[in-house]
């Protein structure tokens, strides 16, 4: 039992899930670059820079564009572009949600269904190590792979756009490369990973628990139990409201629990559990303030609820370990 075992367990998870964790985002990222980048390049190359463009509220025509773009304006455009370019890879993060969801749901179920669990259990690897390697794969390995691919894809798109502009005589390379946000954005994204882990734990714990418990149809159990209990509570709530005029006090909590055990793996979901998107993130004429994304995200960890959820998640992970230890497959 050592870090070497953990390394091999993580590798094992990657072998098994290479398709959904690596190839799928790689292919989608490549398609994104090809299709979106191709469209940008073709559009600008074939039709030139848009005839009318509005910058800072001033409408300019093509001829005046290059001259009218002052150094300041270019810097603003560059800041907008470098602050937001990672957003172009958002399809990859959308895919990550599904990849992690179904990964957790099947992580402890498939090995029981095909009985390969008996092979894994014949090796000197504890159930705790095995389940923890699956948690780490869900909250660290998969997001890190997606982040790396997203950074590469969105950088490629940014440079394609810059190249296309420069073909039209509008050189954006200088100001883009000089913008600190170009380099800071991926680092900020990386800095969000610990926040992601904390908020994702309840969902990952719940899905792994169901995965190690369900005899059949883990998806139905994982989604059905919270949704149906919520519906029943809603019904009781409505009935009580009619009869006594006082609705169930636990309703808001029940809703939040359901949302957190199913939606915790959505990147950025933490803003919806708290005050909402911090004002610094709304695009202004100065671009967006990427730094406030990080500080705003960490601010969501200040309350108890994030940590209570993480603790619940950890307990459910422990439950999954105990179940894997003693579940008899006949």
């Amino acid at each position: 039992m050592n870090s070497n075992t953990m390394k091999w367990l993580l590798r094992r998870e990657f072998w098994e899930n290479k398709g959904s964790m690596f190839w799928a985002p790689l292919i989608v990222g490549a398609l994104l670059v090809l299709l979106v980048g191709g469209t940008i390049a073709y559009g600008i190359a074939a039709h030139g820079v848009p005839m009318r463009i509005t910058v800072n509220g001033q409408t300019m025509t093509h001829g005046g564009l290059s001259a009218a773009l002052s150094v300041d304006t270019r810097a603003t455009v560059a800041k907008l572009a470098t602050g937001m370019y990672l957003m172009t890879a958002s399809p990859l993060f959308f895919m990550l949600i599904f990849a992690v969801f179904f990964y957790c749901l099947n992580a402890l179920y498939d090995e029981r269904r095909d009985r390969s669990i008996l092979f894994w259990k014949s090796l000197p690897v504890s159930d705790g190590m095995t389940v923890l390697s699956k948690v780490a794969t869900a909250v660290l390995v998969a997001p890190l792979i997606t982040m790396a691919l997203a950074t590469v894809a969105s950088l490629a798109l940014l440079f394609i756009a810059c190249a296309a502009f420069s073909l039209q005589g509008v050189n954006m390379f200088g100001s883009v490369l000089a913008s600190p946000d170009l380099y800071l954005s991926p680092l900020r994204m990386l800095a969000l990973l610990p926040v992601y882990v904390v908020w994702a734990l309840p969902t990952v714990g719940w899905l792994l628990l169901v995965s190690s418990w369900a005899r059949t149809k883990p998806f139905m159990w994982a989604v059905g139990v919270p949704v149906i209990s919520l519906l029943i509570l809603k019904w009781i709530d409505a009935a009580l409201d009619k009869i006594s005029g006082s609705p169930l006090a636990i309703m808001p909590y029940a809703q939040e629990i359901a949302a957190r055990i199913l939606g915790g793996i959505v990147p950025g979901i933490w803003f919806s559990f708290k005050e909402g998107i911090p004002p610094g993130l709304r695009p202004t004429e100065h671009g967006i303030d990427g730094g406030s994304l990080v500080t705003g995200s960490y601010a969501t960890l200040a309350g108890m609820d994030a940590w209570i959820g993480a603790l619940m998640g950890a307990l459910m992970v422990y439950g999954a370990i105990r179940l894997r230890r003693w579940r008899d497959e006949g």
Partner: protein, 289 residues
């Protein structure tokens, strides 16, 4: 600690059904034990209890560990092939070797590769591309390369053709087994393992009905080809079993203490040691009814 496995009053119930009914046995080190019984007799459950895969009642010590609470320690020294375990479909031969080499301190990579080389498996092959027999070959190659003190094989050769089965048992005896190791085998093909076993354990309805070394079995049980004129005399000695081979009566006797003596039996006709399969059939009479 001389016993590798020591059980006292081991029981396992599934709901109302009793799979293992308070059995006690000892398996010393350096033995190859055949655990033999019909389907549902409790042999797989007994092995699963010993491997810490199922909870149980009673006392059970494996290599000095309690499989319930010390499974992680136990698994450093134990390896097993469970009855219908299957390797995951996505696993590649080379990855499987890398993984076991990575997590098992007692894995001999060279040995595994040597076994693999003697089959039609290639390093880049995935389990989903293999025939059933090839999967078993890969599994056996991995397990045989692990230098475990206790090896438990539950139907290890299921799905293999006869040439490879023979070769496997040959390897097991010559290449794997030594006096520090203990092997417990269950199989339906008793005749293929009987020549390598040192001990026999028959289990029926969750109880052990016979536990003896092969020498004891050889001394105790005698099969007699009874001459035509001595059949009634032979019947009087209460044979355990009788059958007809080419028109001749073959009877099985217990020549143990308190039983019939060898001289008595020799007078009845030609005597020989029964095969384990015949002994098994005689012992299990009625449990298939």
């Amino acid at each position: 600690m001389s016993s590798v496995i020591s059980a006292k009053g081991l029981s396992k119930r599934y709901g109302k059904r009793t799979a293992v009914d308070g059995i006690s046995f000892e398996i010393p080190a350096g033995r190859i034990v055949g655990l033999i019984g019909p389907n549902g007799s409790g042999k797989t459950t007994t092995l699963k209890a010993a491997l810490g895969l199922v909870p149980f009642e009673g006392e059970l010590s494996v290599l000095g560990f309690d499989p319930r609470t010390q499974r992680d320690d136990l698994m450093q020294d134990v390896c097993f092939i469970a009855d219908v375990a299957i390797l995951p479909r996505w696993l590649r031969v080379s990855d499987a070797i890398d993984f076991v080499a990575g997590v098992h301190p007692r894995f001999n990579r060279e040995k595994a590769e040597r076994y693999i080389a003697s089959t039609r498996l290639t390093p880049s092959m995935k389990v989903k591309e293999m025939s059933k027999g090839m999967i078993v070959q890969l599994h056996l190659a991995l397990v045989m390369a692990i230098d475990a003190r206790l090896l438990v094989l539950d139907e290890p050769t299921l799905g293999l053709d006869i040439i490879y089965r023979k070769q496997f048992y040959q390897n097991l005896l010559e290449d794997y087994f030594d006096e520090h190791k203990t092997i417990v085998i269950t199989t339906h093909q008793v005749e293929e393992v009987e020549h390598i076993l040192t001990d026999l354990m028959f289990i029926r309805d969750g109880r052990i009905v016979l536990a003896a070394s092969m020498e004891e079995v050889g001394e105790r049980y005698i099969e007699v080809m009874v001459a035509q004129d001595k059949i009634s005399a032979a019947n009087a000695l209460q044979p355990l079993d009788q059958r007809t081979v080419f028109g001749k009566q073959v009877m099985l006797f217990d020549a143990g203490p308190g039983g019939t003596s060898r001289q008595q039996l020799a007078a009845l006709g030609e005597t020989r040691n029964p095969s384990v399969a015949d002994l098994f059939v005689a012992t299990m009479k009625g449990s298939y009814a």
